[in-house]
Amino acid sequence: MINLTVNGKPRSIEKSVQLEDYLLSFGVNLDHVAVGYNGEVIKKEEFPKVSLSDGDILEIVRPVGGG
């Protein structure tokens, strides 16, 4: 059992998966988001190379209206 913190809330997955697959599992449009991984911002190309492990902290963000 792998425990994550995603956008400030606890979530867990059965077993480690790639970040990209994890995002796709939510049906997220990868072109519309950016991801913070344990405080680092990682490029889209890196998504497949990152496999999530216990305690990882993710920030998945999108653009919204702002001034």
Binding site: V6, N7, G8, K9, R11, F26, G27, V28, D31, H32, V33, A34, V35, G36, G39, V41, K43, K44, E59, I60, V61, R62, P63, V64, G65, G66, G67
Partner: protein
């Protein structure tokens, strides 16, 4: 006559930067952005709702190829937060432009000058094109431009307050010493505020609440478009000076004189 605004190596014909927040509906926002004639729009970076990840984002409403996207760091109170959000914005916005805001004060949303300067230096090092939002402090403005910021964005009054420009005198000085474009941001309520800023020599203005919260946003956007045009043209046309006394606009001689009918 070509009269372009150049920021971070990019040329813009419009001197009106428009924010995309606080609209009543996304339709209002889209209409207003189009009516404004803007070429640069600000966006905020926020967490995706994972319980509704398919929800539409700005990207579904606006063609990002038509506009220079200016991600902001609104909501950040510290250098560290601002750096993080700036980097996220760079990825999602696919641009090095960032509107830097470091704002510890929730009541007036006045920026922290020292922290903004520190973050600006770090972001410039990372290759960002930094547009910092700051108090209209001429000394701070000078340090920001010397630090490599692409513009300086002094505030007119509190964000969204609709109070107009309280900082005219400071902004005049910031313009006088400017080596980068000066963009007046925050507090503008009506196009005369925008026109005034450009008449003084400001290079552009950033407007959000005044348009988004107007009774008819698209029409107000058009009004600001004209206001910015007016102010820029007036600046280029060279305004008249101020004189203490009047100057007649009609000839003061050869005025016809009535006469009494002969007796």
């Amino acid at each position: 006559m070509s009269d372009e605004l150049v920021i971070g190596g990019k040329s813009f014909k419009s001197r009106l930067i428009v924010g995309t927040g606080r609209y009543r509906t996304m339709e209002d926002m889209v209409e207003a952005v189009e009516a404004s004639g803007t070429e640069m729009i600000t966006v905020a970076i926020r967490r995706l709702d994972l319980d509704d990840p398919g929800q539409k984002t700005l990207l579904d409403y606006i063609d990002w190829n038509k506009y220079q996207i200016l991600p902001n760091t609104a909501g950040c109170a510290t250098v560290e937060e601002a750096m993080f959000v700036a980097r996220l914005g760079r990825e999602v916005g696919k641009t090095d432009f960032v509107k830097l805001e470091v704002i510890p004060d929730p009541k007036y949303l006045f920026p922290d000058g020292a922290a903004t300067l520190e973050a600006a230096r770090l972001l410039v090092e990372e290759g960002f094109i930094v547009l910092p939002y700051v108090h209209a402090d001429p000394t701070l403005a000078k340090k920001l431009q010397d630090a490599g910021c692409a513009t300086v964005m002094p505030l007119g009054s509190a964000i969204g307050s609709g109070q107009g420009i309280h900082t005219i005198e400071e902004i005049k000085i910031i313009i006088e010493q400017a080596t980068v474009p000066i963009v007046v941001d925050a507090g503008l309520a009506v196009p005369s505020d925008a026109s005034l800023a450009l008449e003084l020599g400001a290079d552009a203005v950033l407007v959000n609440s005044a348009i988004a919260q107007a009774d008819t946003p698209a029409l107000m956007a058009e009004a600001f478009k004209h206001g910015v045009e007016a102010g820029r043209k007036a600046y280029l046309a060279g305004r008249i000076g101020v004189r203490q006394y009047a100057a007649a606009s009609s000839p003061t001689t050869d005025v016809p004189q009535p006469v009494p009918a002969r007796s």
